[in-house]
């Protein structure tokens, strides 16, 4: 499915590079994200997906060059972008609702926005519970609700590997949440799985060792040959019930060049 894009520019990324000490994690990525788009950031482990997303969200601690510009410099940054890390962590005895409300730190208290975000992730009935009493999938949803609560209408939701450790039902629910967000603003999400990326996203950036292998509309960016270059592995495209998926060719020998490390 495709969410129609009305074309208004929400985020412009220009020559973004990230270095951790002497190691370059991301090399000169440029993107334009418009309203209604869901961008999948795809690539093997260590290809720089997380660093790229953190740098775009402005929470990267490494050395960042280039820039990510959000549409409206007049509005506060936290309202225009929110980041959901791969591993959330709460070191206090807060309820789910408390945590979602923390998202409003810089953008002003708004009870209704908090409740809306909780409802969007389907946690209204359990929001009064202690965070540490919730399941892994529910905690993930709390983290996303916190991010949603902080965004205004044109805000970009940035998620690092949100599908990493949740069951299929949670995956389906999460896909719904992300599409709903994209209808108002945009979503950037990093994914291991090219198949899920194609099912979810409208656009994709494929990274290998920090460099862009391909980017653009999903069907062009996530073509078989591109993925083979990115992963150094043959991928079979399977199709059924209107869904296309990629399955790795496990019996084929892996080709060199798909390594995690940056080539000089």
């Amino acid at each position: 499915m495709t969410v129609s894009s009305d074309g208004s520019l929400l985020l412009e990324v220009d020559g973004l590079s990230v270095a951790h000490g002497a190691v370059r994690a991301v090399a000169g990525v440029s993107l334009e994200v418009r309203r209604g788009e869901i961008w999948a950031v795809v690539g093997p482990n260590g290809s720089g997906k997380s660093s790229l997303l953190r740098a775009i969200a402005g929470v990267e601690r490494g050395l960042v060059r280039g820039r990510a510009r959000f549409a409206d410099p007049a509005r506060s940054l936290p309202a225009q972008r929110a980041f959901v890390p791969q591993r959330a962590d709460v070191s206090a005895a807060f309820t789910a609702r408390d945590i979602v409300a923390l998202g409003r730190y810089a953008v002003g208290t708004d009870h209704a926005a908090v409740e809306r975000a909780i409802a969007e992730v389907g946690l209204s009935a359990r929001a009064h519970l202690d965070y540490h009493a919730l399941s892994g999938g529910e905690r993930q949803r709390v983290a996303i609700a916190r991010a949603l609560a902080q965004l205004d209408a044109g805000g970009v939701l940035v998620l690092d590997e949100p599908f990493a450790s949740i069951d299929p039902a949670e995956v389906a629910r999460l896909v719904g949440v992300l599409r709903a967000r994209a209808a108002k603003g945009a979503v950037l999400v990093s994914l291991h799985d090219p198949g899920l990326s194609r099912a979810l996203a409208t656009h994709a950036v494929v990274l290998r060792a920090g460099e862009v292998v391909a980017q653009g509309r999903i069907d062009d960016a996530l073509a078989g040959p591109v993925l083979e270059r990115a992963y150094g592995l043959g991928l079979v495209e399977v199709e059924g019930d209107g869904v296309k998926w990629f399955v790795p060719r496990l019996d084929a020998p892996t080709r060199p060049g798909g390594a995690d490390r940056m080539e000089p």
């Binding site: 309820t95 609702r97 408390d98 409300a101 923390l102 409003r104 208290t109 009870h111 009064h128 519970l129």
Partner: protein, 314 residues
């Protein structure tokens, strides 16, 4: 602010959970009260401050001073002590020690005079203030040698002044006499050098090896008894075994508060790897010698015997 709006929501589910901490706090309070009832009252009861003590009422925060007061026959006058003062009634309130003091117990004990051995940094100014406020004469006397003990005798004489009876005057005079004799002995030894005198080391502990060095009351007692201190350094000296073997002593006196203590020190020193025959090692149970007080003067005769090589238990 978030808090205001959410407080109501938080309260609902948390209501049950919230009862627990209140109970816990109540429990804690109850425990404190119980501890107090069990230990506090029972233990507090014997802390008697003596309203009937004869004037001048004296408190002492130093065991050596307290021992000296008892030695002068003034135990009745003592209304407050330190936790280390064992020469007086243990039921007397503990008003402080070298470092800390108990303002309330001191106020309740209501002494006329307070003796302290000041730490190097001086007496806590707030103690000075408290004494001034409550009309307590504060006497600071650090006791290291015979001169300090003589000064303490003068302090006591001054505190009692006209109130001193015959007996006390007699004891003060004889203490002065003994102290003068000792100081004269020390001066004489300094004049004619240590030639011909037996070289003595006094051991106070064998773990670590702690010896009596120069310039303290025990050194003065030793020298005035006719010995020469074999330990060449000042103060209380911790010596490694090799240094002990190299002292070149004629005699080692192991000083202990009890027979066991003295004997065990002597036994350890005896089995050191002496080249040839070990020096004469004697254990001596002389607890009165272990604090720099007037009571130490009583041990002087016994120490002189040991120095001269008479008696002493191996």
């Amino acid at each position: 602010m978030i808090g205001e709006e959410y407080r109501a929501e938080l309260d609902k589910p948390a209501g049950k959970r919230r009862a627990a901490p209140v109970q816990q706090m109540a429990g804690l309070l109850l425990t404190v009260v119980l501890i107090w009832l069990l230990f506090g009252r029972g233990a507090t009861a014997p802390a008697v401050s003596r309203p009937d003590a004869p004037a001048p009422r004296i408190a002492s925060m130093s065991p050596a001073v307290t021992d000296s007061l008892v030695e002068l026959g003034l135990a009745d006058h003592v209304v407050g002590r330190s936790g280390f003062c064992t020469a007086v009634d243990r039921a007397l309130p503990v008003v402080g020690d070298l470092r800390s003091f108990d303002a309330e117990r001191l106020a309740i004990a209501a002494p006329d005079v307070l003796f302290v051995q000041p730490p190097v940094a001086g007496v806590d100014p707030s103690l000075r203030e408290l004494c001034a406020d409550r009309g307590i004469a504060l006497v600071e006397r650090r006791l290291d040698g015979m001169r300090d003990l003589a000064a303490l005798v003068d302090d006591v004489a001054e505190v009692f002044a006209e109130r001193a009876d015959e007996a006390l005057r007699g004891r003060l005079a004889s203490a002065r006499e003994v102290l003068a004799t000792i100081e004269a002995g020390v001066a004489a030894a300094g004049a004619d050098g240590s030639g011909g005198r037996p070289r003595i080391a006094i051991a106070l502990s064998a773990d670590p090896f702690l010896f009596v060095g120069r310039g303290n009351y025990l050194d003065e007692l030793l020298v005035s008894s006719g010995g020469a201190n074999a330990v060449p350094r000042d103060g209380w000296v911790e010596l490694p075994v090799e240094s002990i073997l190299a002292l070149g002593v004629d005699r080692i006196v192991a000083l202990g508060a009890s027979d066991e203590a003295a004997l065990s020190i002597a036994n350890v020193i005896e089995v050191l790897p002496w080249r040839g025959a070990p020096p004469a090692i004697v254990g001596a149970t002389l607890p009165e010698l272990l604090t720099p007080s007037l009571a130490a003067l009583r041990g002087r005769a016994r120490l002189a015997e040991l120095v001269a090589g008479e008696g002493g238990e191996r």
